[in-house]
Symmetry: C2
Subunit: 206 residues, 2 copies
């Protein structure tokens, strides 16, 4: 399949979560406008996204939730599940690990790294925390493909370099420091302060 629009990919992830909730409640079919209500978007957008991934519902009955969840899985997940490392076991890093723990996601955090002796050689929700020096070794051995950076911002560029060298193919950067990565590494950055200042701006404009 040719690559899907950025925003559609984001929504698919959200559809899946909501759909799984509905499945858990015993619902088997769902209409586009129902999905739309759950996510507070429009039903047109839902239908369009579903069209783009090549699924068809049945008229008057809507979409088969199980089938749709499965298809989203085919699109978003890899066959073997992608392995993830977290670098920086502070508030955010730990939060992430605990959050993913017990989620039945195909995405698995398999290693954590830090430099603080109090944090390393311990296990957090089944994830072992290594010293940063072991980064390359473990990433290669485990064939980890994605890294989440939750260190202090100053060291983020250095961590990004190390990750790229070790063969990581995707980085999620939670520090407010913008990073440069080689062309073949996909980079997603998120800055909480930006979100907050955005809210503040639009509140002010009312």
């Amino acid at each position: 399949m040719e690559t899907l629009p950025d925003k559609t990919v984001e929504r698919l992830s959200q559809y899946r979560r909501s759909l799984n909730n509905q499945l858990a409640k015993g619902k088997e079919h769902i209409f586009s406008h129902e999905i739309a209500n759950l996510l507070h978007i429009t039903s047109v957008q839902v239908r369009r996204d579903i069209m783009l991934i090549g699924y068809s519902g049945t008229l008057r009955k809507g979409y088969d939730i199980k089938e749709l969840v499965h298809l989203i899985g085919v699109i978003l997940d890899t066959d073997d599940g992608q392995k993830i490392a977290v670098i920086g076991m502070g508030n955010i890093g730990k939060g992430f690990i605990h959050y993913l723990y017990e989620k039945r996601s195909k995405l698995k955090i398999v290693a954590a790294f830090d430099i603080n002796p109090e944090k390393i050689d311990k296990t957090y929700a089944d994830v072992y925390c290594y010293h940063l020096d072991k980064l390359e070794e473990i990433i290669k051995k485990e064939n980890i493909k994605i890294g989440i950076i939750t260190t202090p911002p100053q060291v983020a560029p250095e961590i990004a370099d190390k990750l790229a060298n070790a063969g990581i193919k995707g980085i999620l950067n939670y520090t407010p420091k913008p990073l440069s990565v080689p062309e073949d590494v996909y980079l997603e950055e998120y800055d909480m302060i930006t979100s907050l200042e955005k809210v503040a701006y639009f509140v002010k404009e009312e």
Copy 2:
């Protein structure tokens, strides 16, 4: 000023942070392409954003950093600084408070709320944590206008209702539960798993 594009607002916040870094390094003027490099975007975009906020640099000398930072402040900040409350003092809530602590931002977290007795009636980086029951009272008394929700997802809708009732005008929702709010409340939602699945998708597509 007519409202700026969404994305421009996000970038202004980022410009300001980078510009302050440069100021701290003793730099007084900066070119559009320098700002662009810091943020890994194009210089055209920088110039366009700066045009939109009505600032002019001087040819060959670039932008006066201090002036630009000041103007971004005029746009993003309110006169008195906006007050913020955090609901849910877990990993993310605490992280946020510590992060904003000692930042010289006009945005001030002035109260936290939780229901866990171990968390309440304590102070975290100068922010006092109240029992959730006090929410409406404190928000009204302190004239808090923005709420950050970092509770478990199940209770998020209930918290959002309480916030809206108490007169909050902007909500930043970090739980994966989509919320509904009254028309006059600005809502920004962010879901870490969505970011992660997005990275995973684009890594897979390579």
